[in-house]
Amino acid sequence: MFKFSFRDKSIVVETKKNKIEIKEEALILSIIIAFIIPYYFQIIELSKRSKQLPLFIVFIISLLILMRLIKCININKETDKSIVKSKNSQATKEEGSFINKFPLLPILGLLFLAFGVSIVGTYISVPVFVFLMMFYYGLRKWVIMILLSLGVTLFLYFVFKIWLMVPLPQGIIFG
């Protein structure tokens, strides 16, 4: 029934009758909408003075988002195949030049680090995180990897615990 494909920063959904292209920009606008809708319901119950400016912001931003969303979604617009081809060949060239890794890995890594710190504490999570990230990105110099992993942990200990006196999370297990 539906066929999905990915082009340069857009998703194309093909049905029997229609071809819908949704640009990546729609994702950002969706995130903002996902914030603005509950934000609106939170501010609507406030006193007149407190909600005047936020309501104005919600009104203007909703209009602008609507205008942009209309531009992000193209239905049955003919794509220039030659442009798509040249973009694809450019992507191939770029793949050869860059380290072509999963770009959102740092985000996932940070989430796992935050989770790990809450469970097993800083002094175990941080060296493991640093080591695994460097390994994933292709570094194979084991001595450097171990030294850096331990070095960062020591740095955090001396700067945060000793100098700034900020207690580092010990985790549920060791806390």
């Binding site: 406030l46 003075r49 407190s50 942009r68 380290i99 850096l148 999370p169």
Partner: protein, 520 residues
Amino acid sequence: MRRGVLILDTIGELIINGLKATATINAVFYICAGTLMGLIVGIIPGFQSAMAVAILLPLTLFMGPFESMVFLISIYIADIYGGSITATIINIPGTGASVATTLDGYPMTQKGECARALGIVFGSSFFSGIIAYIFMLFVMLPIARFAIRFGPPELFLLGIWGITMLSSVSSGDMRKTLIAGLFGLAIGSIGVTATGEWRANFGSLYLIEGVNFIPAIIGLYAVSEVISMSERKFIVRDRLPEIPKLSNVLKGLFEPFKNIGVFLRSTIIGTIIGAIPAAGGTIGSLVAYGDARSRDSKPELFGTGYAPGIIAPESANNASTGGALITTFSLGIPGSATTAVLIGALMIQGLRPGPQLLREQIGLVYAIIVAAIIAQIFMLFFSIIIGYKVVGILGIPTQILVPLISVFCMFGTFAIRNAMFDVYLMIAFGLIGWLMKRNGYPPVAIVLGIVLGPMIDSEFIRTITLWPDNWMITIFTRPISIFIFILIAISLITPILKKRNKNKNNITNKILPDIDLSED
């Protein structure tokens, strides 16, 4: 005339006494220690000068009032130098005041002119700091008197003026910039209102105080930059970049004088905005950037690694520290968390900042200002050395940098209030910042909204509370409000007029390219 001469004589005497106080081993030691700490704090993302100053405050118990203030103020000023180094080299501003520097500093690094960019940063900061602090010596009281006249209507309009700078940070679709800026304003409005109500905290106790702008800056810039870095072998290019030359750094130091108009205007803007309570280096640097762009004959070059785009924010952010200290010393009003701690430091020494301090301890105040001027020389020296070393980051593969910067970002954010909530917020902003950069939405617009949102909102509420029946008339009839309103109108109209002129010239050139209009 005689009175003027007498005042100058008195100020001259105070300056000489200040120089004598600074020319001691103790003072030089504390200036150097404070400068180095401030630079390190500024370079590491997530670390704030307020944190360092607050933690080192107990040490000042063992120092005299002059040494303690010189030490803490050196940290305060050097923090901005440090934040600008990372803003220029790796697009990660270490402080809010360095956000505007990323707009042209990092593009200049990407063009392979990292050394020149750093030189411009250091030169602009150094010379503007010298001018602003010398200015402080002679006009501290009039500026303080002017700053105290800013009431809620003026502060509200000042925030609006800051928002109009969105037009200067937009290099593409203005609607995208507006969406980002309004999104930032909405986020900035989260928290306790001026009427004491909890607004949009979504049931979370962590959001009662609002969204701290440090997780937002670290997420939007550092984390999103880390994601982008992970797609490259090195920070700037796909191959090892050439090592920048120190001679290029030194050449860049004097570039502010090639754009003397931008430099002087930005210094004045930074000093005055820094003196206004609740405003600060972030607002000052963005306003100065917007002003420079709107007046430049080639505004389209801003954002591409253009020297005035670095000179303007860097001159303003360092000058704003001088302005902030004017209100701190002369009125006892802190303009930021750091200056609030500085007031605490004075009170520990048994001194009370404000008019009383100027009456009874004018010698001490002037000695501190003179020491801050001398400290600029040490800051320049250490910045060049440390900055030049930090440039070495460009040669480190991203395989190593990505995990290290991620860890520093996380713990720098965590250290704000020991809450993992801030870390999750930082990660969310990181994802949003990365998506925005890919689709032409400038993250600086969100930062502007988050920084200015609380000020605009609270001052608006105060205005309509104080003048419930005629707040609109009040806003547009007070003298300072009228002046700020004219500035807003100028900053909105100037880009439109310039664009119209440019289009007119383009049309003229197309229609009449070959006709010789000279008279025979």
